[in-house]
């Protein structure tokens, strides 16, 4: 283990990740994290790997860039979240609701019915979700969410 492979390094890396993500709505790249932390890419990647092992982040398999800094997605999804701060993508409807929750801001979620594709929306204002038609379906039992977090 290198001297930098410590909980402090990972806590700082997590803070860099979420600071950038909350500010602009999309997770930072490995290169950006290197710039923010002053660490070489190799150490940034090692820290990200530890955060993945701790189920804090999910990485893209090929590139090793961040895929999910929950509730935010680094790639476009069917869960568009518009807030006063930015427009972001949630990983699922729960995460989409989690973005205004994490920001402490109102938000509008634009998505579609998982079955028929009809456009749907949810409004979050004043710390409450507006009365809206529809139901949220959790397909995978809670203890299996991390078996394949991309498919939950």
């Amino acid at each position: 283990m290198s001297a930098s492979a410590s909980p402090d390094v990972d806590a700082r890396m997590r803070a860099y990740v979420y600071d950038a993500t909350l500010r602009r709505g999309t997770p930072p790249s490995v290169a950006e994290l290197g710039g923010a932390s002053g660490l070489p890419a190799e150490e940034v990647r090692a820290s990200l790997a530890r955060l993945v092992a701790g189920r804090v982040l999910v990485l893209q398999r090929e590139s090793g860039e961040i895929l999910m800094a929950n509730p935010f997605s680094a790639v476009p999804t069917p869960f568009v979240v518009e807030t006063p701060a930015h427009t972001a993508f949630g990983n699922c409807i729960w995460d989409a609701l989690g973005i205004p929750a994490m920001l402490g801001q109102p938000g509008r979620i634009r998505t579609a019915c998982g079955c028929c594709g009809e456009a749907m929306a949810c409004e979050v204002t004043g710390g409450r979700v507006g009365r809206s038609a529809g139901v949220v379906h959790f397909a995978i039992p809670a203890r299996r969410w991390w078996d394949d977090i991309v498919f939950t």
């Binding site: 806590a11 997590r14 803070a15 979420y18 600071d19 909350l22 701790g54 189920r55 804090v56 929950n70 509730p71 699922c92 409807i93 729960w94 995460d95 609701l97 989690g98 973005i99 929750a101 994490m102 998505t111 579609a112 019915c113 998982g114 079955c115 028929c116 009809e118 749907m120 949810c122 979050v124 710390g127 409450r128 979700v129 809206s132 038609a133 529809g134 139901v135 949220v136 379906h137 959790f138 397909a139 995978i140 039992p141 809670a142 203890r143 939950t152």
Partner: protein
């Protein structure tokens, strides 16, 4: 986790994909779960993932109980 127009659409989607029905929450329940889950500031040095017991307590506080929300391995569980 997906949003559906109704429980009927959940059932139809499950039949299309050969998936069993999971659990259906109202948008309000899902919001309460999102607020509880994502409320703590992940930028804070002291932030850490919840323990299993803390997660169970969070679910229970929101009325999310039963086998679906059980986090402990069970040989009889689906």
């Amino acid at each position: 986790m997906l949003l559906f127009r109704s429980e009927e659409h959940v059932e139809r989607w499950g039949r299309q994909w050969g998936l069993p029905r999971g659990v259906v929450l109202t948008p309000e329940q899902a919001w309460q779960l999102a607020e509880a889950w994502y409320g703590p500031d992940r930028r804070a040095p002291e932030w850490r993932r919840r323990t299993l017991e803390e997660t169970e307590a969070l679910f229970a506080d929101l009325g999310l109980t039963g086998l679906f929300w059980n986090l402990r391995p069970s040989p009889s569980a689906a």
